[in-house]
């Protein structure tokens, strides 16, 4: 029983960056933009969040953990937005190829993260960039009086760091937004058929920019989760290492539904930490390829059975130019 609960908790913790990446990309793709730069935006968010908290700590001698957390969230979000903004400007305004632009963003973002990570480390007196214990503790699990103490339930639901709850809240809000609001309906129309949305008076450009940028910001927070929670506030070279790509695949697994993204990231989080909890007697390097192998299987399974309602927004990958004929 304890193993199962531990596995579940570890899966939630490992799955949360995937959840952020997946949610960000779902929002992006709902606008018809296929942004393959998730990995890059996560790197950008990872370094921005860490650097934000780090400099805050340097400037104020008595840092407050809460303020540092807010700074990390805001900075990583904004840096993700910055990446997505470059992408939107190139694809929406300048109409460049979405695939290549997304890959360029990944190359850029990966370089950006590692570059500034190294700069930060190189300038730290100790030779590596790390935040202090005060700040580190805000990114550890929370403790809610009474709730966290309930046997099993407390550990299962009330023991995580605050970002886990932020991720779940974003998923719920996104589900509500897409299905129950006017703006959500408009966004879906933009992704399905931008010409029809345009003719109905929707500002296609605005929706594409907003959805892509907010999506990028959410991916950025996911990156910050990697640097602040998984790497405990220390810059680790190449820390995101493929999480962004799995998130892109999870969007397909989740069939563009935020609620199913919760399940998907939990499963994939579980796969990535399995070697610690489920001994199968195989080398750890083989365990490490499980998430990727599972992604391939998911791709194949979802690709073979396709439905009209739960499929990719129809215009995804194509740029819209009103005057094209």
């Amino acid at each position: 029983m304890d193993t199962v609960i531990n596995l579940f908790c570890a899966a939630v913790l490992a799955g949360t960056p995937l959840l952020f990446g997946t949610l960000g990309e779902i929002l992006t793709e709902k606008s018809g933009n296929l942004n393959l730069g998730v990995e890059g935006m996560m790197f950008m968010g990872a370094i921005a969040g860490l650097a934000g908290a780090y400099f805050y700590e340097q400037i104020f001698t008595v840092p407050s953990g809460i303020v540092a957390a807010i700074i990390a969230v805001v900075f990583s979000f904004l840096c993700g937005v910055l990446g997505a903004l470059i992408y939107s400007f190139l694809t929406v305004t300048l109409r460049s190829n979405q695939n290549v632009t997304g890959l360029a963003l990944t190359i850029f973002g990966t370089g950006f993260g590692n570059f500034f990570g190294d700069v930060l480390a190189g300038r730290a007196p100790s030779g590596y960039a790390a935040v202090g214990a005060e700040i580190k503790s805000v990114f550890q699990g929370i403790k809610i009086p009474f709730l966290s103490d309930i046997p099993y339930i407390g550990k299962l639901f009330f023991s995580y760091n605050f970002l886990v709850y932020v991720g779940v809240i974003i998923a719920v809000l996104m589900h509500f937004f897409l299905n129950k609001t006017r703006a959500g309906l408009n966004l879906r129309a933009v992704g399905e058929d931008p010409a029809a949305a345009d003719a109905a008076g929707i500002n296609v450009t605005k929706y594409k920019y907003l959805a892509t940028c907010i999506g990028g910001g959410i991916c950025g927070i996911g990156g910050m989760y990697v640097s602040m929670v998984i790497c405990s506030g220390v810059w680790v070279f190449n820390c995101v290492g493929g999480i962004g790509w799995i998130a892109v695949a999870l969007v397909i697994f989740a069939t563009w539904s935020p609620s199913r993204a919760l399940l998907g990231s939990l499963i994939f989080g579980g796969l990535s930490i399995m070697r610690l909890y489920v001994p199968l007697g195989i080398p750890i390097q083989i365990y490490d390829i499980f998430p990727y192998l599972a992604t391939v299987i998911v791709l194949i399974a979802t690709g073979i059975r396709q439905s009209k309602e739960h499929s990719i927004p129809k215009s995804t990958g194509l740029n819209y130019f009103r005057e094209d004929r």
Binding site: N99, V100, F108, F112, F115, I289, V296, L299, G303, E323
Partner: protein, 373 residues
Amino acid sequence: MSRLFHHSPREGREPLIRMVKRPQIPWAKANLIRAAALLGALLAGALIILLLGHNPLAVYADMLEGSFGSKVSRTETVKIAVPLLGASLCVALAFKMKFWNIGAEGQIMMGAIAASYFALFHHQNMPSWLLLTVMCLAGIIAGGLWGLIPAVFNAKWGINETLFTLMLNYIAIGFEKYLQNGPWKENPNGFPKIAMFAAEARLPRVFGVHVGWIIMLALVVIVFIYMKRTKQGYEISVVGESKNTALYAGMNVKKIIIRTMFISGAIAGLVGFIQVSGADFSLTESTSGGVGFTAITVAWLSKLNPIIMVFVSAFLAILQKGSNRIQTDFKIPASAASVLTGIILFFMLGCEFFINYRLIFRGRKEKRNGYSN
């Protein structure tokens, strides 16, 4: 017309900037725009260098010095360019077919693993020329097969190839790590690494660099002719433009996808062989070292033209070699190469717009251009 900026508060005003499709633009002017974009990218890079408190001119000069200054640095630069060029050829073949093969990384790795198998375990059994031939063939076949897997799934069931090829990268690298830590580990009790190749398994040198560079230049010509002049090359272009047209023309689209991806992967496999046998003399987890991704940039910037790829990959190799140099001289991290590559790619992608479209600002009367029927 579409609007660059969103609604002004008052509805119904003429948009601030409108975009209008240009008629065809002269070749020289188009290249001028591209050159301006490259300059813009270098300026943006200079801005970052400036922000870090260095003199951009000095840094750029040091990069050039570091990649050209001495014979050693020149051979090092060529050694970086060779796999990049090979991977770009691999990627270009697939891209021409609009098959987004971003799995060159994994295909290189599988080729390298297969070649290494013979280098490590059969080097005593054959003469050097035979060993190298066998390693080369093994690399080609392994890379080709690794490219074949996503192609088969894509052709038969329409499985998204972008993510599939990408995931196969991680799986290939994971497999290498397993070999390195397990069965192929040199010293069971020591640091996890694979033994260096015996002398027979190493590629000979010509002008100070392993013969890989000659192989690659020959391959450029072959791929160029293959794409432009052969029936199979023609099939690739048609499938890339429209699968419906290909079917209509009686082409076996599935076969073409599978065949082309085998060739694409085989080229990557060849690169893997050249890397282990010519550059590293061993197999490591960084044998493919990201060239599979950078190659996408090269292929795209070259507009899938193999001849132009020679120059673009040389340029990016200079960037990378130069970045290694500035890391030692200025303490600027070597990741600067990917940041700069990304920026250049952004600018080059963006500049195509200005080749195809013209901007008209509010209140500016448009001059009438000549028109044909």
